[in-house]
Structure formats: C-alpha cells, structure tokens
Amino acid sequence: MAFSHKLVFDERHYDIQVLQKAAYRSMNSLTVDIAADEGQIICALSSNIGVDESSFLSAVQEFKKDVLDYQLRHQLSAETKPIKNLILGLAFSKTGLISE
C-alpha cells in the first residue's frame, strides 16, 4: 500500500532548490512531486514501494527537518560564498603549478 502526504511552503520563506535538495535526501523512503502555485510551493510526498506507514511518517518528519536545515544552509552558503572564494584563492596561490 502506498502512503501520501501533502506539504505547502510559502515561496517568500523557502527557496525551491532547498525543497529539491530535501526531496533528494529523502529518496530512499519517499518521492516528492514539487509544484508552484500562487506564491506557494506544494510538495506531494508518496511512500516508496515496500515502505510501511510508520517508516513513511518518520520519513515525512525527516523531510520537514531537512527542509529547515537546507534553508539554513542556503542562507549560510549565500552569505559566506565571497569569503569562501577568497580563502580558496589564498590556498591555491603561489603553488607553482602554473608558470608565471
């Protein structure tokens, strides 16, 4: 038997890429159809074949936590991207790998 669950996210607070990443991470237990509609992102979650109800409910809970985590990662990554590039630039400078 397949189980399903619908989650709705406000586009003002969640990036679509964040939901895609959370969906990818959950693929061992469930699949997610993602659709956008009037400022909302709708995630339709369906259990994988062979996943029982209790495992599916746990996976839905994990998915929700992952969405929050990935949104925070998104914020952190955007803010630190310039300094990350600077650090990598410093790390790879003067390696002698490219002739001057």
Binding site: Y24, R25, M27, K81, K84, I87, L90
Partner: protein
C-alpha cells in the same frame, strides 16, 4: 607609571562575521559543524540558528571556540583566512605530488581459493596469468614518470610469491633506475605468507621489502574463510609470520582482515587473535563488491547495518583495551580521525577527494592493462573494463593519465559538486569512490541516499564524534591514533 587597561576596553563591540562552514544533525539534540579545513565542533541544536543569524551574544562561551576553529571571525581579522587557507593547502598537498602507490599484479595465480576473493584468482599452474618482463619494463618507465619524490611499489596477485622471479626482477630493475632518479623507493609484497621461503626472505631483507599479509581471525575462522589444499592457511600464516619477523624485523609484517558473514559474531575473537600474534592494530574492513565476492554472493551475506554493529562492537573492545593500558589501534578509525583531528590527509584512496584513482594509486595488471585502482582491476576481472586506462605496451604515460576514463571519473565524482555531498558536513572526511559506486550503482556518483558507502561512512563519522564527545579519555586515545600517522 603605565598600567594595563581594563579588560572591558578589549571587549569586541562589533558583531562577528560568518566563515564558510557546513552542518548536519548528529542526533536529535545536537548538530556537528565542520569547515573546509576539517575542523569540527558539536553544538546543541537550539544554538545553530542564532549562530547563523548572528544573534549569538558576544558573551556566549561558544564564541571563543567558534573563533579558534575558524567558524566565525571578527570584522577585518585576517588571520582566520590565512589559517584556513594554510590548512586547506596542507590537506591537499598530496595532490601536487601525484601518484605514489604503483601496484604490480605479477600473477593472478594463487594457492588459496577464497570464496570472497575480489580479484578472481586462477589456479597455480596457469602461466598465462603472469606478468612478462616486457610489461614490467614498460611499467617501470611509467612509475618513474610520476613526479612524486616517494614511490611505493606493491606486488599483488593472486599470490605474488608464485611469480617471485618477477618480483625479484622488478625490485632489482627499479633500484637500478633509482640510482639516477634518487626517489624514496619502497617495496611491499601483499602475500598470504603460505609460500614464503628462506631465499625469498633473504631477498626481502636485502632490499628492505615489507610484507602485507591477511589474517581473518582465529584458526577456525581464518581457515574457513581462506581454503587451500591441506586446510592449513592459518598454520602457514603463523609460521610465515614468525619467520618473516625474525628475518625482517618485528614491525615489517602487517596484516589485513576481511569481514565475512562468519566474522560478524566474533569481533572480540578476531581482535584477540591479532593481539595474541603481537599486532598493534587491526583494520576492521568490510567486504568489497568485486570478483568472487559478487559471484559467490558473499557480498550479499550481510548488510551495512550488521557490519556497523560488528565495527562498533570491535571498536568498543579496542577502546577498553587502550583504557586498560594495551595500545592497540583500529586503523580505519585512525585514518578518519587523522582527517578530523589534524590538517593532514593520510592519503587513503577510498577516502580521497578528488578520488585517489590513478592519481594516488595505479595498477599494472599481469596482462599489460593499466587500471585506475586495485578495485578497478577487480571489476575488470568481472568483465567490466570501465576503469581500464590503457595498455602499458601500447599507450604512453600521457595517453593513460589523460585518458577520458580517468579524467571523467575524477571530475564527475568530485564530492564538492556531487548532490548531497556538496552540502554534507562530513564531506571533508569522506571520499569520492567512483569505482565502488560504479560497481554497485553503475554511476560514478550514484544516489547518495541509496549508497551503502555513504551510509557506512556517515555512521562511522558520527560514531567517532559521539565517542569523543561523551568521554574525554576516549578522545585522548583517538588523538594518539590520529597523530601517529
């Protein structure tokens, strides 16, 4: 008269800035945060959001730790950037040196018939499975094209002692060439020790060759795992070990174990056997999905969860031993801990990014084929030649090293751009492993949520961190392991 200013004068007034870091849930209550240099810190779950939104008060006791590990900096501080860059550079310094380990498969013949054999060995008499001198010469040309100042040549099989003449030839020829090359040249023979003779040992002693052997546990388990005529694999191992230690030195012989279904309930027995035979460590290995391990379905005989139970039980026992004063190391943990607790990278091929295939190790097979790694040639013995980079008799160094087979695998599996890995807090400790993922999933990246490599390693990383967090003595033991490499 001068006097010190009050402490408050030095207090930071401006908010802190974030430096790049990643995070993952360690358990329901805690997150682990890591940075590009592999520094990590465990924080209570409710602290994560305030750290990232920069609402953590400057008086928080977390601030000095986050600063000292370069997760945050105060405005205009330059030292954290320099430190991070230096640590990253140190971690990646092996890349510039390029290939160190060169594996010569001098024969595929073997006197054992292990059902989990990952190289699909042949019977002792089949001479067509031996490397020729022409192939060996060309392989040595290749070896000395590597820019690495340290070169290790490892002889593998089958049982390399069945073609000892070729071992002898390669060692002498390599040493002759090295008179001019002046590299740090080392030799290893991977052998069961069952066919070791005094003449061979004399040669090994003369040329500082070390031996890497196999021990699966107590006699009954070892002999069941490693059948040979006479069912005396363990006895021969023990005799060979004694002779080899006497001739070459006590620490010149190491052993590796393979975990089969029969090993799983016997973690302590296996470790006790290593202790009895005087080893100071053990590598709790899982079974690789190659060769006869797949054909005989041995690979499917246990799952990742069960192996993790075995690993955790073994590690717990090893920690107990260390606490009671017996220094004994679990070597896989030691490799991971080196990546967690130091800026060094032990260069373990499975845990490298970019993958170690070809650029850390390369294999010259008995038939002239060149493979990206030991696992690649194991895969080839199963009929999958995806990671065959060329033939030593037909292709140049450049053609092999710059082959699409190698470059595509390295580029496509790079973890910093792989789905899930790129956001994973444990990425600095993990590896790309394109060959494993290709073998199981037919894709060098694979879907990580379905990857047992990912599941296994993630569980190990979390377990090691939790052990360190929960017990200061265990952390001290682990620091000792990490700093030995």
């Amino acid at each position: 008269m001068s006097k010190f200013q009050k402490l408050e004068l030095y207090a930071q007034q401006l908010p802190y800035e974030l430096l790049p870091f990643k995070f993952d849930r360690l358990n329901d209550d805690e997150y682990v945060i890591t940075n590009m240099a592999g520094e990590f810190h465990v924080i209570p779950a409710p602290m994560l959001e305030p750290i990232i939104s920069k609402t953590l008060p400057l008086s928080s006791e977390l601030i000095p730790t986050l600063r000292s590990k370069q997760f945050i900096r105060f405005t205009n501080e330059q030292a954290p950037l320099q430190l991070l860059a230096l640590k990253i550079r140190t971690r990646l310094s092996r890349l510039a040196q390029f290939t160190n380990l060169h594996i010569f498969v001098v024969t595929l013949r073997c006197d054992h018939s292990c059902p989990y054999c990952q190289v699909s060995r042949q019977s002792e008499s089949k001479g067509e499975f031996d490397m020729t001198t022409e192939m060996a010469d060309k392989s040595l040309d290749f070896v000395f094209r590597s820019p690495n100042p340290a070169i290790k040549i490892e002889f593998q099989g089958g049982e390399p002692l069945l073609n000892f003449e070729m071992v002898r030839y390669v060692v002498l020829e390599a040493k002759k060439r090295n008179l001019k090359e002046r590299r740090d040249l080392r030799f290893v023979i991977a052998t069961t020790l069952s066919l070791l003779t005094d003449d061979m040992l004399e040669f090994c002693k003369q040329h500082n060759i070390v031996l890497s052997s196999s021990l699966d546990g107590p006699m009954d388990l070892h002999n069941a795992n490693r059948p040979r005529p006479g069912r005396d694999s363990h006895q021969r191992f023990e005799e060979g070990l004694k002779k080899a230690r006497a001739a070459l030195g006590y620490d010149q012989v190491s052993a590796l174990m393979t975990t089969t279904g029969k090993s799983l309930p016997r973690a302590r027995d296996i470790i006790d056997e290593y202790l009895r035979l005087g080893f100071d460590g053990i590598f709790l290995r899982t079974l690789s999905p190659y060769g006869f391990a797949i054909k005989t379905k041995k690979f499917m005989s246990y799952d990742t969860e069960r192996w993790l139970e075995f690993y955790k039980e073994g590690l717990e026992y090893i920690i107990e031993l260390n606490k009671s004063g017996i220094r004994f190391v679990e070597q896989y943990s030691s490799i991971v801990l080196t990546k967690m607790l130091t800026s060094g990278d032990p260069g373990f091929v499975d845990l490298m990014n970019p993958a170690g295939a070809g650029i850390a190790a390369i294999v010259f097979n008995y038939d002239g084929s060149v493979y990206a790694s030991d696992e690649s040639r194991m895969l080839a013995e199963m009929g999958d030649h995806t990671f065959r980079l060329g033939n030593i008799l037909e292709h140049s160094y450049e053609e092999i090293i710059l082959s699409d087979q190698l470059l595509d695998a390295l580029e496509n599996s790079f973890t910093l751009s792989a789905p899930m890995c790129s956001d994973c807090a444990f990425e600095p400790y993990c590896g790309a492993e394109p060959v494993y993922h290709h073998a199981i999933h037919k894709d060098v990246v694979a879907r990580k949520p379905e990857s047992s490599f990912c599941k296994r390693n993630m569980a190990i990383f979390k377990h090691l961190i939790e052990l360190m967090e929960s017990d200061e003595q265990t952390k001290r033991i682990f620091m000792g392991w990490a700093n030995r490499c």
